[in-house]
Structures are given as structure tokens and as C-alpha cells.
């Protein structure tokens, strides 16, 4: 059993590090993990779950605002982008946040094509992160089920 645990832990470490290296996550995600303990073992998963719900809601708002036949209210789009930028920043969703910065600039420039492109990218990106994190959480579960502890991963 120990060999399995050790193997899973190494897999977990490598996977987590790769998420940071590939720019999916940043320091703020590390901050989130600091707030998790034995008393609140699901904190990170809970916050991320709220974040992904927020993504669905806000992207829906953006899509509706961009879907107006006639004049698009770019400030309305921008307001939702600002909110998404905020929450992605709070959870360490680095790529999503980066896209929001670009998206916001297109809103301010009233650039319709730019906004539509960003909307598509943001949708792809949050879903990609969701999948990656699900895999990471699954590895955690496997480690625990194998009788081991989830290791602290030092990014630096």
C-alpha cells in the first residue's frame, strides 16, 4: 500500500506543479490552500465550485449583452468581465484572469469582434481549468483512499 501511496503522491506533486508551470494557476491558489485544514478539508473545492458557477452566470450575462441586434451595451459586457476578473483573481485562475484583462480592453474600445473572440476563449479556458482541477481533486481522493496524506506541494 505504501508504494501505491508514494506513487500517487508523486503523481499529484507533478500534476500540481505542471498546473502552475502551464499558467493555469498562480500564487493566489497557494493562498487558498493555506486556508484549508483538517477542520475545513474541502475549502478549496468549495470556493472553486462557487467560482465555476460564477463563470457560468457571468459568461451567460456577457453572451446576452453581446447578442443584442442593434447596439451592444459594451459597459454592460464590461461590468460582467470586471466581476469575472475579480473572482478569477481571488482563486488564482491565472489564464481566465489574463483573458479578462484583454476582454476588458476590447469592451472599453467597443470592439465587437474582439469581445466575441474573448468570450469564446474565456468559455474554453474556464472549462479547461475545471477539468484539470477535477483531475487534481481526484488524485487527492485516491491518495486518501489508499491510506495516505495529500502532500503539501512547494511550488518554488
Amino acid at each position: 500500500m505504501d508504494a501505491l501511496v508514494a506513487q500517487l503522491q508523486m503523481q499529484y506533486r507533478n500534476y500540481t506543479v505542471s498546473l502552475y508551470q502551464q499558467g493555469f494557476l498562480d500564487d493566489q491558489f497557494t493562498e487558498l490552500k493555506k486556508l484549508q485544514d483538517d477542520a475545513s478539508p474541502d475549502f478549496v473545492a468549495e470556493v472553486l465550485s462557487l467560482f465555476f458557477e460564477d463563470c457560468v452566470k457571468l459568461i451567460g450575462n456577457m453572451a446576452r449583452a453581446l447578442d443584442q441586434t442593434g447596439t451592444v451595451d459594451f459597459s454592460q459586457v464590461g461590468a460582467s468581465v470586471h466581476q469575472l476578473k475579480g473572482s478569477s483573481s481571488s482563486v488564482g485562475a491565472k489564464r481566465v484572469k489574463g483573458l479578462c484583462v484583454t476582454f476588458k480592453e476590447y469592451c472599453e474600445a467597443n470592439n465587437y469582434e474582439g469581445c466575441v473572440r474573448c468570450l469564446q476563449q474565456v468559455d474554453i479556458e474556464y472549462k479547461a481549468l475545471q477539468t484539470k482541477l477535477q483531475d487534481m481533486f481526484n488524485l487527492e481522493k485516491q491518495i486518501i483512499q489508499a491510506g495516505g496524506k495529500v502532500p503539501q506541494v512547494d511550488i518554488n
Binding site: 493566489q28 475545513s40 470556493v47 458557477e53 476578473k85 481571488s90
Partner: protein
Amino acid sequence: MAEVLRPEMLDISNDTSSLASPELLHVLAVDDSIVDRKFIERLLRVSSCKVTVVDSATRALQYLGLDGDNSSVGFQDLKINLIMTDYSMPGMTGYELLKKIKESSAFREIPVVIMSSENILPRIDRCLEEGAEDFLLKPVKLADVKRLRDSLMKAEERVFKNIMHKRELEANDIYSQLKRAKI
């Protein structure tokens, strides 16, 4: 007879401390983002604070009894040691909330910290001028909250010590008078 009035034997009651309970700061957090609310609540709990979270400035005013519908009489037991509010919120902003709190006689002494994702200097200046205790850039870090907590605890300690010192001087004064009167 004079022994009875020795300063150290005077009863020191706890009501001079405005802490919600020993060592526990009660923080009111205001943010319209559900993600940020969850985050700040956990941040504060981990830092040994009692937390009340609301989703708008209007709700914060309702909680404090400043919304005009209730008199503040029923809120005398409400002990808030710190208010942390997001700046950009729909409806009333954190800045407007700050102003309302500083206008109220009941709550103007409570430190108010503004949080914002945008590092806009005129915004920061405006908040500090209006009496904000501090301005934190989001995302807020554990270190920020620890720093805030430590400085607030020190301020409380100083106030408490001043009150104690004053009482001691008064007690010493009475003691000397009685001694002179040879009671």
C-alpha cells in the same frame, strides 16, 4: 481601614474593553462577489476573528441599524471591531458606505478598511481622506489580515492600558487623600 482602598484592590470590570470577547475581533465584511465573500470569511475565521458577511452596503447598514428604519437603541449590544468592505459594488459603493459610517455617532470610531482590485491612487487618497483605516489591494492575503488584526489589537490594548492607568491614578489620589485625613 486605609488598606481597603489600596488601588490594586479596586474592581476592574471588563466593560472598558470594546472587544467582542477576549482576543476575538468581530469583523463585518461586505462584498457583492460570492467567491470573495467565501474567501474573506475563511481568511478572517482562520485569523481567529468572529465574522459576519453581507452582500451589499445596504445590508451592512441594515445590520448596523443605520438604515433609518430602526432606531439604533436596539443595537447597543452590537460590538463590531472592524468593517472590511469592497469598493466597487452595485448600488451603494464601499466609499459611500464608509461615509455613512463616519457620519454616524454610534459607529464612526469603528475602523473601516476598503478592498479593491484596482490600484487607483486618487481612489485610495479619497478613501483615506474620508477616514478609512487602510486600503487593501485584492486579492487580500492572509498576511494582510494578520497585520490588520495585530495593529487593531495593539490599539485596543493601548486604549485599555490608558483607561487602567487613569483609574490607577484616580485610586492613588483617593488613597492619598484618605491617608492625609488619617481615616
